[in-house]
């Protein structure tokens, strides 16, 4: 798939932009703070209906738009897929402007018809890489869970729903646990929250575990391709519930060939889900007292982590900055690979300022890999960082002061 056309109104630094985008690698070239990253963010918003990295809705709206009667921002895109084109329209309107209580309403349309976020997500698939993704390696487990969530939400609608419901249940259940801790009372009420916790939790866990196994199988080779030497990059989903089994659900897939033999994420998880639910229930029963004593839900996908190892060494505490960068890149490219295998479409790659931090060889290897994708948007301050030979197939867009111009080569 690829993003064929993008229109922005009052989005980040853009007052107004209309631009047609071709297939293939697109280099967005310009000095800092000219609007390159905003274009990648716009594509991310079209794919997920949300801004990346918890950027607030307020910040998506151009600062100058605050003077207008009804400040709003709009991102509109036309996506080309195997099945034909689709348009996505995301308008973010400020509805209340009481100081300290600004509220925003998002209006979503797919092919001109109003839709829920759930129905829009997945129309465009993207993989976004920015320098702050380094947090993926040494940051808190929540960063790595979000990485899995962003991947899975784009390819599995049931996952979007299960995640929303699960988070809601955890909030309710934690309130109840705190009340039981502080004031005691009837514990039978817990049971009615255990059930949805287990049902939605098992759905999330089965899919995360399956995705992690596919990532593990793909990222190894991608990492070798990128750095040029044979270090084993290992990815494993660490979860008390999933690991309590030790069955096929946790067996690693060791090569992409095994992966081809295995069914896709969706089919793979169906059986695992019921079994995970059983284990989840058992573990909950065993830790009831502890949960009440601490007043918080201690088991489930909201407590899990993604383990990353290079030749057996845990990267989370020990990785060097260079390793972190190449491993993050390998993870992102693997994310794209999982999407491709699941949906049959290559996602659009959004690579922000990735070239400057790689040496010449790695840059060349990365661009060679990227050119296999139907479309990739790559920002850089310096086009000379790119080999001439590789530049030939690319489109170069100059970005200066929120104006985008195609460079004639």
């Amino acid at each position: 798939m690829y993003l064929h056309r993008l229109e922005l109104v009052n989005f980040r630094c853009y007052r107004h932009l209309e631009i047609d985008l071709p297939k293939g690698p697109i280099l967005l070239v310009g000095a800092n703070a000219q609007g390159k990253t905003s274009l990648l963010e716009a594509a991310f918003v079209l794919a997920t209906t949300r801004a990346p990295y918890g950027i607030l809705d307020r910040m998506l709206i151009h600062w100058g738009a605050g003077d207008e009667v009804i400040p709003f921002s709009r991102v509109w895109g036309k996506v080309e897929r195997t099945g034909g084109p689709s348009t996505i329209d995301i308008v973010n309107v400020r509805t209340t402007a009481t100081p300290g209580d600004e509220r925003f309403t998002k209006r979503l349309r797919l092919d001109d018809a109003p839709r829920r976020a759930m129905d829009v997500i997945g129309t465009l698939n993207v993989v976004l890489f920015t320098p702050r993704d380094i947090d993926l390696i040494h940051g808190a487990p929540a960063e790595r869970r979000r990485y899995l969530d962003v991947l899975l939400c784009q390819i599995d609608r049931n996952y979007v729903r299960a995640l929303g419901q699960y988070n809601h249940v955890v909030v309710q259940r934690n309130h109840l646990l705190r009340r039981l801790r502080d004031r005691g009372g009837d514990r039978t009420e817990l049971a009615v929250w255990d059930e949805p916790l287990v049902t939605h939790g098992a759905r999330i866990l089965s899919r995360r575990a399956a995705a992690a196994r596919q990532l593990d199988a793909l990222a190894h080779q991608l990492h070798i391709d990128l750095v040029g030497d044979d270090q084993r990059l290992g990815i494993a989903y660490r979860s008390q519930v999933v690991e309590a089994g030790g069955d096929a659900a946790t067996d690693p897939i060791r090569s992409p060939d095994d992966l081809d033999a295995a069914p896709g994420v969706a089919a793979d998880v169906a059986n695992a889900e019921a079994e995970i639910a059983q284990r989840f229930r058992r573990l909950l029963a065993g830790r009831r007292e502890e949960e009440i004593a601490r007043g918080v839900s201690l088991i489930g996908p909201h407590r899990d982590d993604l383990e990353l190892r290079l030749d057996g060494v845990d990267l989370r505490p020990f990785g060097s900055r260079g390793q972190q960068r190449t491993v993050t890149l390998a993870l992102k490219l693997a994310e794209a690979g999982v999407m491709w295998r699941t949906t049959g479409e290559r996602p659009v790659l959004l690579l922000d300022d990735v070239l400057s931090e790689l040496d010449r060889n790695r840059r060349r290897r990365l661009l060679a890999h990227v050119s296999a994708h139907e479309q990739a948007l790559i920002t850089t301050t310096d086009v000379t960082a790119v080999d001439h030979a590789q530049l030939e197939h690319a489109t170069v867009l100059d970005v200066a002061a929120a104006v985008v111009r195609k460079r004639e080569v």
């Binding site: 309710q172 259940r173 109840l176 049971a191 929250w193």
Partner: protein, 203 residues
């Protein structure tokens, strides 16, 4: 409120602002509207408010709001006292009555379990329902709480409470599925999935 306002006006504004969905602006607009209203209209409103608090009671059988206890539904001999439909709010009773399909009695919980809002089973009329089971000839209980996480949790709690009491009453849950007059192609997958699971024989 500003001291420039006469105290009765400020009091009324404060009272309005405590209502759900009403902010300070709407509250003052309503108060000033009442101030300009003919006396008898404004007094009608105050009379209606007084009557609301003085003459509306909870039916001691089904806990619906009513003018008398037992309420009209509970006192109606033509209704099937063997069936009780459990709902969250009095408004749900009105919705079900509008269908004209239901001839049994009701039981109004006045909410759903929601720890976030500090609402537990003891804040609802669940014990009262269990007690009704002991004294009334109930054959079937229809759990008609909302199809939300909170509604489902409440239904599950009631089911467990009744079973723990040794009751073997028939328990049913409202069917979930397609809206009448809707299109299958526009139904979301969860609704459609539920409709498929809960399909029924063609009669």
């Amino acid at each position: 409120m500003s001291s420039a306002l006469p105290r009765p006006v400020a009091r009324l504004i404060d009272a309005f602002a405590r209502l759900p969905g009403i902010g300070p602006k709407t509250a003052s607009r309503l108060a000033f509207h009442l101030l300009r209203m003919p006396d008898d209209h404004a007094l009608q409103l105050s009379e209606a408010l007084r009557a609301l608090k003085e003459s509306v009671v909870h039916c001691q059988r089904c806990y619906n709001i009513a003018e008398t206890s037992p309420c009209e539904v509970c006192a109606d001999p033509s209704r099937d006292s063997g069936t009780v439909c459990v709902v969250e709010e009095p408004l749900d009773v009105i919705a079900l009555e509008r269908t004209g399909e239901y001839k049994g009695l009701y039981h109004v919980l006045h909410g759903a379990i929601s720890p976030v809002d500090g609402i537990g089973p003891t804040d609802l009329r669940i014990d009262e329902l269990v007690r009704r089971m002991g004294v009334e000839p109930i054959r079937e209980i229809i759990l008609a709480t909302n199809p939300s996480l909170e509604g489902d949790a409440t239904a599950m709690f009631i089911e467990r409470a009744l079973r723990a009491n040794g009751s073997e009453v028939r328990l049913t849950r409202l069917a979930r599925g397609l809206p009448v007059g809707g299109d299958i192609e526009y139904a979301d997958e969860v609704t459609l999935g539920r409709a498929m699971t809960g399909r029924s024989e063609v009669r």
